[in-house]
């Protein structure tokens, strides 16, 4: 990863001095490492400072600040955009844990704004309306870290090539239906296993098939994993959902609508945090699943017209 990073930077910007390349590479490394610190944790969607404080008290390792949670975005329809910076700042002031925020796919000015207000992580997210139907943001131009969604290995590696320092499944946000997160996680894992099983001389063709740089394929082949942290996101509504994603290989989970669309958000948030730690212990997850009140109602995948996961490939 590191050699590729230097090579690509040097090739793309020939006049760039090595010292500057080194600074950019260091920032990217630090950004990947922040994601490492979030591992084993739960990142919760919040829409105001009060929810942010509830999330922090319940044990969230970070919060995602947004004006409307995905379930409401889906219900309201229309174009959905980056949140009001003032609202995001209110959440930054309310908690001490990292604060993330979403920008539209390809909307690099929204990303510039989020960087300007000192956000800890940007989610270039399919949950918002895409601003560009061809290009994602060139995330190598930013110092702030990005997390991006991916349905399969090719998508994950393309986002990493563009500078993403963390990956999540796309799931199908706002539905409370975990089926797509499961599908994406299994797909990425299966493709990693396939790449790992290839002979060295087969990796060139694999890179062509996946439409990604050869160096990234080689890394996946050698390390048998993505070169960045991989979380599950989309449709996670219960402690069992969270534990399911962890058993499938997620390194942590994002919970969006599942918490603040449920009957008792604080209790559910706390239970999901603990289910992520004890994901291999059914007796603990059973206890955690008791008396949580009403889960979010949810919509089945087949009942929805708009598949957000199909945004951005």
């Amino acid at each position: 990863m590191e050699t590729m990073w230097i090579a690509r930077q040097a090739g793309g910007k020939r006049c760039m001095r090595m010292a500057e390349v080194e600074v950019e590479r260091t920032q990217y490394q630090l950004n990947k490492e922040l994601a490492q610190m979030l591992k084993g944790g739960v990142i919760m969607d919040v829409t105001n400072p009060e929810q942010a404080r509830i999330a922090e008290a319940a044990g969230a390792c970070a919060v995602m600040a947004l004006e409307r949670i995905p379930a409401d975005i889906r219900a309201a329809g229309g174009v959905s955009r980056m949140s009001d910076p003032k609202m995001i700042k209110g959440i930054q002031d309310a908690v001490s844990i990292p604060v993330m925020a979403k920008c539209r796919i390809g909307h690099f000015v929204e990303a510039q704004i989020l960087e300007a207000i000192d956000i800890d992580y940007i989610d270039e997210s399919e949950v918002l309306s895409p601003a560009d139907d061809t290009y994602h943001i060139d995330k190598t131009r930013f110092r702030v870290p990005f997390v991006c969604g991916a349905k399969d290995l090719g998508e994950a590696l393309r986002r990493i090539a563009e500078g993403a320092s963390m990956i999540r499944t796309k799931g199908e946000p706002g539905t409370g239906d975990v089926v797509q997160a499961v599908r994406h996680m299994r797909m990425v894992n299966a493709e990693i296993a396939r790449i790992a099983s290839l002979r060295d001389d087969e990796l060139f063709q694999a890179a062509k098939d996946l439409q990604v740089p050869y160096e990234l394929v080689q890394l996946v082949h050698d390390e048998r994993r993505l070169p960045v942290v991989n979380f599950a996101a989309g449709g996670i509504a219960t402690p069992a959902d969270a534990a399911l994603m962890m058993q499938l290989g997620a390194e942590g989970v994002f919970v969006g609508s599942g918490i603040f669309k449920s009957g008792d958000p604080a209790k559910r948030a706390d239970a999901i945090v603990k289910a992520v730690i004890h994901y291999q212990e059914p007796t603990v997850i059973a206890q955690l699943s008791e008396d949580l009140g009403e889960a979010m109602v949810g919509i089945n995948e087949q009942e929805i017209d708009l598949l957000m996961a199909e945004r951005g490939k």
């Binding site: 630090l30 610190m37 591992k39 084993g40 944790g41 044990g59 960087e115 603990k274």
Partner: protein, 193 residues
């Protein structure tokens, strides 16, 4: 030699990988029942101190761990771990194990855009090889005040970023994210004594 790594949230696998490289067997602590397993030393990894602190308490692990540290068990704490050990946090009312007489500032360098990498000298690791130590600061704390008998192991600019107090070594940076094993070796030497 068994070293327990608190494995409830954060970058615990990175510590385990480094300890295994040094020939150590790791025990993961995920709940109170894991504390019954035999171990000779303890690592408190990086992550979010608010999450780790809350879970330590609610999973019923705090008192046992605190007692072991008080009884002299060697402990290595990095970043969030340093906050868990600190007696007081200047900008946060929450405190946790409080076995280390230092006052720390959380997120002392600001948010992620304030994260940085540098090289610095760590006192006491010279025996394991010469040269500056690579230090990764990720939304890191630093130490504002040290109590009696607390040895300052490293400073960056004017701020204390690594300390030793009898059996406790704590760093604001992340030795587990580098390829340099010297801080971990310093820690393991404390077990053998």
């Amino acid at each position: 030699m068994n070293v327990a790594v608190l494995a409830i949230q954060g970058a615990f696998v990175e510590h385990e990988n480094m300890l295994r490289r040094l020939g150590v067997t790791c025990v993961e602590l995920r709940g109170a029942s894991d504390l019954r397993k035999p171990f000779d030393a303890l690592v408190l990894p990086g992550g979010e101190s608010t999450v780790q602190g809350k879970l330590l308490r609610e999973l019923g692990m705090s008192d046992d761990i605190k007692q072991r540290i008080a009884d002299g068990m060697p402990v290595l704490a990095t970043c969030a771990g340093l906050i868990l050990l600190a007696d007081r946090v200047v900008n946060d009312p929450r405190t946790y194990l409080r076995t280390l007489p230092i006052v720390v500032r959380r997120n002392a360098y600001g948010r992620q855009l304030g994260s940085f990498r540098t090289l610095g000298d760590v006192h006491g690791i010279d025996a394991h090889g010469k040269g500056a130590f690579p230090m990764e600061f990720i939304r890191a704390p630093y130490v504002e005040e040290v109590g009696d008998d607390v040895e300052v192991l490293a400073k960056i600019d004017t701020h204390v970023v690594a300390v030793r107090y009898h059996n406790q070594v704590a760093t604001a940076f992340h030795p587990e994210l580098t390829g340099d094993t010297r801080v971990h070796e310093l820690f393991l030497d404390m077990i053998e004594k």
